[in-house]
Symmetry: C2
């Protein structure tokens, strides 16, 4: 839902497409939906539910010809079930593709995400067997939350520093890989700053969309 | 129509939006249309007309709720009149906003563009009073065409070198500003390489969209 994260997703999707000419690319229809109410507010503070706006946007995409949907926003996946039930086409789940990409790394899987994503169990529910390593309440308040907000505002150096501190804390508690569970995080955080391999769910979701399109084209 | 150029346009639009929160952004609906036939082929070599696909895409955007349209592809503006006639909402013209941005610079206005854009008169027809400085046939074949193709393929350093050489040739013939009349060019060319101020129509068009949205919101 963060518009820069959507741009990042589209950039990664275009770069991941094997193409020699404009005509080789994947047909896309995209909505930037600022009308969707704040997801974290809804989950944590009883704000208005984003579900109706999300389902309406998904149905509009389907009406515009989309045959597969993807949503480059983790927190919005708290309403994945309503959304998937509201449309007649497959909806890729960002946590499923990200968890698959994190598999095979030694040690636990560190998770950086919004408090909303965490409390909704976006990752835990899709990966109950994963050895998750999560931020402490203090790390969340001091580093992860402010880091995500800084990335949303384009303050990427500040965001990288805050998120790097949070990532290194996960590594000290046994994470062998860090999953960037909010689409704003890959805009800022680097592997050099984190000190371990990072999984970028935006990139993995973009690649899954391209694979879906190529598969369908065969 | 080049998908990286569309991503660049969206990035510039998001960055140009005054926003403190996701909810402050402009609602957008976007189509990436690889099904549109090659514009330069159609203009120069009798290839199939892109007009039906362009009009269909514009109508689909209007059906999806778009109240103002913009097309971050210069060559496709050869079919601007058909497109504007086929929808019931305003369509911003990339040359109009770019010509306005180039005004006020001393000297001629250098124009780097595809042969299709040039032969269709996308810029000359919208700016008949402008002192245009254009590439020679040799510069077009040797630098501009290959530079644009390199940018489309993501070979940005090579593209910057080729396009820089073409820009400097325009400056030697009196250009005081260079208008980057193909949306792939700003992906690669820098003012340092060109040696004069550059007008980036992608950025100018993005700002015009934001201004339109803010104006409408008042």
């Amino acid at each position: 839902m963060g518009p820069l994260a959507t741009v990042d997703f589209l950039h990664k999707l275009v770069r991941a497409t094997p193409a020699d000419a404009d005509q080789d690319h994947v047909p896309l229809v995209v909505r930037f939906c600022p009308e969707v109410p704040d997801r974290v507010q809804a989950l944590l503070h009883g704000g208005p539910s984003p579900a109706p706006a999300l389902v309406a946007a998904a149905q509009a995409l389907q009406a515009a010809g989309a045959q597969c949907l993807a949503m480059p926003c983790h927190t919005a996946h708290a309403w994945y079930d309503e959304l998937a039930a509201g449309v007649g086409v497959p909806v890729l789940h960002i946590a499923d593709v990200a968890i698959a990409a994190a598999a095979g790394h030694p040690g636990g899987v560190g998770l950086l995400c919004t408090l909303g994503t965490r409390q909704a169990g976006i990752y835990r529910r899709r990966g109950p067997g994963v050895a998750w390593v999560e931020s402490s309440a203090d790390e969340q308040d001091r580093c992860v939350g402010p880091g995500i907000r800084a990335a949303k505002l384009g303050r990427l150096a500040q965001a990288c520093e805050l998120l790097g501190e949070a990532a290194r804390a996960l590594v000290r508690r046994g994470a062998g890989v860090v999953l960037m569970g909010c689409t704003e995080i890959p805009l800022a955080l680097t592997e050099a700053e984190a000190g371990v391999p990072l999984v970028d769910p935006t990139d993995v979701l973009a690649r899954a969309c391209v694979a879906w399109a190529l598969e369908g084209a065969r």
